[in-house]
Amino acid sequence: MLPLNANIVRTVDETPSTRTFFFDRSFEDALTGQFVMVWIRGVDEIPMTLSYKNAITVQRVGDATSRLFEIQEGGSVGLRGPFGRGFTLPKRGESVLLIAGGVGAAPLAPLAEKASSVCSQVTTILGARNVDELLFLERFLQCGPVHITTDDGSAHRCGFVTDVLDELDVSGYDRIYTCGPEMMMKNVFGILEREGALQRTEFSLHRYFKCGIGVCGACCMDDTGLRVCKDGPVFNGTELVGSEFGKYARDPSGQKKLF
C-alpha cells in the first residue's frame, strides 16, 4: 500500500518529551501492539505503535521525531499499516500484569483498556525518569491498581519497575506484557526467566526498520532471523531466549551496536 494521507486533528502534550497526534483516520481493525509507518514527508518514515485506534504517542528523540513535533494541528502525515504482530489478548477472567517504562506505556495503555473489559484484574507497574514523564497514568488507573516508580524519586517510589516486579508474586498473573527501554526489558526478562514466567509474557521490541513489511531483513534478530517488523514487534518471552535481545541491535547500515 502507498501511504494514506492522515490529517492531524488534535495534539496533546502528554509529558515534556511526548506528544499524542490524533488523526482523522482510525485503524479499527488494528490489533493492540501493531504499528504504523509514519511518513514525515521529505524527512523520513518511522514505525510507531498505535496508542489509540486513531493516534500515535511519540517521544522526541531524533531528527524525524523533532520534525514531526513541528507539524501542527491541521497539518498532515502519510500512514501505512497497521503492520506486524500485536499482543495476544487475555481471556475472560484472567489476571494480567503490565510493565511499562517511559514511552513504552504507549502500546500498553490501549491494551490495559481492552483487558479491563474482560479481565478480573489489570495491574500496572509504570516507570519513568521523573514524575512529569509518567505517561498515561490516568488511563492505567482507570483499569486497575498502578505501582509507580521514578528514577529520581520525584513520585512515589525511587527506583525501577524491576524493584516492584521483584516483590510481586508473579505466579498470580496469567499473562504479563512489557514495553520500555531494552535495558529495562532485559532486567524484566531476567526476573521472569528466573520465575519460570517467560511462556506467559510478551515483549514489545524496537529495532531500526527499513522496509517495514518483512522483506529487506534489516530488523532480523540473532540467532533466529525473526523479523521485528513482521514476526514481531511483539514476541513471546520464550522466542527471545539466547537471542540478541538485551545485548545489541543493528544500526541502519547493519553494524552491531551494543546496549
Binding site: M37, R41, G217, D222, R227, G254, Q255
Partner: protein, 300 residues
C-alpha cells in the same frame, strides 16, 4: 540437483540479493525455508546507511524500493558470512559492489576468508549514485570490474545486470568477455511513485527500482535475449511468485531462478516453487531443469 557454474543446488530457487540477507541468521532462515542457494545483501567497501525511508512500498503491480545499498562494510559482514556458511547448508553467494575496479577487488578479497561459494557483482542497482547501474550501463566498466574480480577470486563470478539499458545483450557480452561464469538478470526497473495528496515522491530517494509482477515480462525478454547470445549460464530473476513463473523463466533460458520481493507473501515461497517445478518436470518426463532451459528458442 542443479549444477550452476560448479555449484550444486538441491533445487533451482535462490534467495535474491537484497532480501533477508543482512545477517547470517536471516540467510540461514531462508535456507531452512527451502532456498537452493542464498545471495547476501550487497556488500561494499565502507559502512553505508542507505537512503531515508520510505525505502520500500507495495504497489498494485509490484514493489518499488530504494534502499540505497545499506551495508555494514565487508569487514563487519565477514562474521555474518562465516555464520551463514557454517549453518545454511546450501551455497552462499556474496553479492558485492564498488564504485570502481579497486573497490570491487578490495571487497572480494576482504570477503574471501568467509569462503563464499560465488561472487555476484552488483553492477545494476538503479538508485545509488556512483555505484550499481552507474557501473553496469557501461560495457567497458562492466568488463573491467568483472575481470578485476576474476583475477583475485578462485570461485565463480556472476554478474547481475540492469535492464535499464538500450541493449542488455551488449552488457551481458561485456561481462562474459571479462570472465564472468554466469549472468543474473534482471535487477529492478527504474520507477517512481508520487503522493498525489502532497506532491512528494513517495520514496525517500524520490525514485527507485520496480520489482514484482510488473517486471516479469521484461525479465523474461531479457533472459530470452541473453540466452540467444551468450555462452555462459543465465540466472533468471524478476517477478517470480509461482512455479509457473519459474518454469516460464527457465524456458526463456534460465538455468536457475532467484526470488526476491515475493517473500512478502510468505517465506514458504522457495519450497512451494521448487516443488512445483519438480512436479512439472516429472509429469513431462524430464529429468532435470536443464532439459527445459531455453526450450522457447527451439519453437520457431
Amino acid at each position: 540437483m542443479v549444477n550452476i557454474t560448479g555449484l550444486q543446488l538441491k533445487n533451482p530457487t535462490m534467495l535474491a540479493a537484497g532480501i533477508m540477507g543482512t545477517t547470517g541468521a536471516s540467510l540461514i532462515r531462508m535456507a531452512r525455508e527451502g532456498a537452493g542457494a542464498v545471495v547476501t545483501k550487497s556488500i561494499g567497501p565502507q559502512p553505508k546507511e542507505g537512503h531515508s525511508n520510505p525505502s520500500m512500498v507495495k504497489l498494485d503491480c509490484g514493489y518499488l524500493n530504494a534502499m540505497g545499498l545499506p551495508n555494514p562494510s565487508y569487514e563487519a559482514f565477514l562474521p555474518e558470512l562465516e555464520k551463514a556458511k557454517d549453518k545454511a547448508g546450501v551455497p552462499v553467494i556474496a553479492s558485492i559492489f564498488g564504485g570502481n575496479m579497486e573497490e570491487f577487488r578490495m571487497v572480494a578479497e576482504g570477503l574471501t576468508p568467509g569462503k563464499p561459494d560465488a561472487f555476484e557483482l552488483n553492477v545494476s542497482c538503479p538508485h545509488a549514485m556512483g555505484y550499481g547501474a552507474s557501473v553496469g550501463t557501461d560495457p567497458e566498466m562492466v568488463k573491467a570490474v568483472t575481470s578485476a574480480v576474476c583475477e583475485v577470486a578462485d570461485i565463480p563470478v556472476w554478474v547481475k545486470l540492469t535492464p535499464n539499458v538500450t541493449d542488455i545483450v551488449a552488457i551481458g557480452k561485456a561481462a562474459q568477455a571479462g570472465g564472468a561464469d554466469a549472468v543474473v538478470a534482471i535487477n529492478t526497473v527504474r520507477g517512481m511513485s508520487i503522493d498525489i495528496h502532497s506532491g512528494y515522491p513517495v520514496l525517500g530517494n524520490r525514485f527507485g527500482g520496480l520489482s514484482g509482477e510488473a517486471v516479469r515480462p521484461v525479465a523474461v525478454k531479457c533472459v530470452y535475449d541473453l540466452y540467444a547470445n551468450l555462452d555462459i549460464p543465465i540466472i533468471g530473476v524478476g517477478g517470480i511468485s509461482t512455479w509457473q513463473h519459474a518454469v516460464e523463466m527457465i524456458m526463456a533460458g534460465a538455468s536457475a531462478v532467484q526470488i526476491g520481493s515475493m517473500v512478502y507473501e510468505g517465506l514458504n515461497v522457495f519450497s512451494d516453487i521448487s516443488e512445483g517445478i519438480h512436479r512439472f518436470l516429472e509429469e513431462r518426463g524430464h529429468k532435470k531443469t536443464k532439459d527445459i532451459t531455453g526450450i522457447a528458442h527451439e519453437r520457431f
